[in-house]
Amino acid sequence: MKIGVVVFPGSNCDHDCQYIFKDVLGQYVEMIWHKETLLAGLDAVVLPGGFSYGDYLRTGAIARFSPVMGAVKAFANKGGLVIGICNGFQILLEAGLLPGVMLRNTSLNFICKDVYVKVENAATRFTNRCESGQVLKIPIAHADGNYYTDPVTLGGVKANAQVIFRYCTADGKVTPDANPNGSLDNIAGIMNADGNVLGMMPHPERSAESILGNEDGRLIFESMLSSFGKPELHSKLIGV
């Protein structure tokens, strides 16, 4: 598979995402500078974490007008697979590819720690390698991860099973105490109605290798590959 990792000024998880897809999962990865206006021949696009444009104005607010975002939107609208992680999620929200916004964490703190999230929908292109209700341990690292949307939109998102991850306890209970940032309904990740765009605040690329002591995040990337059928074949083709 050919994965494009978008690089904005201020992205800082771009190389982690490249590493996971290329070195851990054996896929072909192309780094895409934010000035690009075409995404040719890609199977999936990653909007990585970081602080694009210094988080000026609002997180993701400037990045969404980057030249590349027009191409990302066109790619997504044609059904292309897009995952936005942390700042990437914030950009997807600002771009209107996913509904809602991020508010400052209720604690006002930048929170960097492992959290538990419950897989609420395992029948997606991002979670098909997980069990429904499975608890994943994945780190978060953000100051603006407090998901918010209006009640009508939230109702629609829930009714369509677009809530993919919710913050939970180690044994899978979705409680206020397990909510690190004040997110509405403990939401940690949502998908669009068509099922090809996912945004999530936790960083699966930081927990995708046994040497790091945690491989839970890898399930998400493996699910993306599985959704194309036979990812192994692609690995062989590119001689990894």
């Binding site: 104005l57 400052r104 964490n105 006002l108 209006d150």
Partner: protein, 79 residues
Amino acid sequence: MKAKIHVTLKQGILDPQGKAIEHALDSLGFKHAGNVRVGKYMELDVNETDRAKADAQVKQMCEKLLANTVIEDYRYELG
């Protein structure tokens, strides 16, 4: 023409910064301060002499970029 733009959180949207400032005011002894809301103030020049056109442009700027209308209101003066 200069535009002076205020972007504020809509009523009912949680404002953790406002809350923190409120607590700080309280601990400084300002017991009568309440309901602190933090917003943004921006100034910009619009290279346009026609007031109606300038107004339309600033409105578009607010809608497209300066405010996120899911959670924020905006208002501005032209002068």
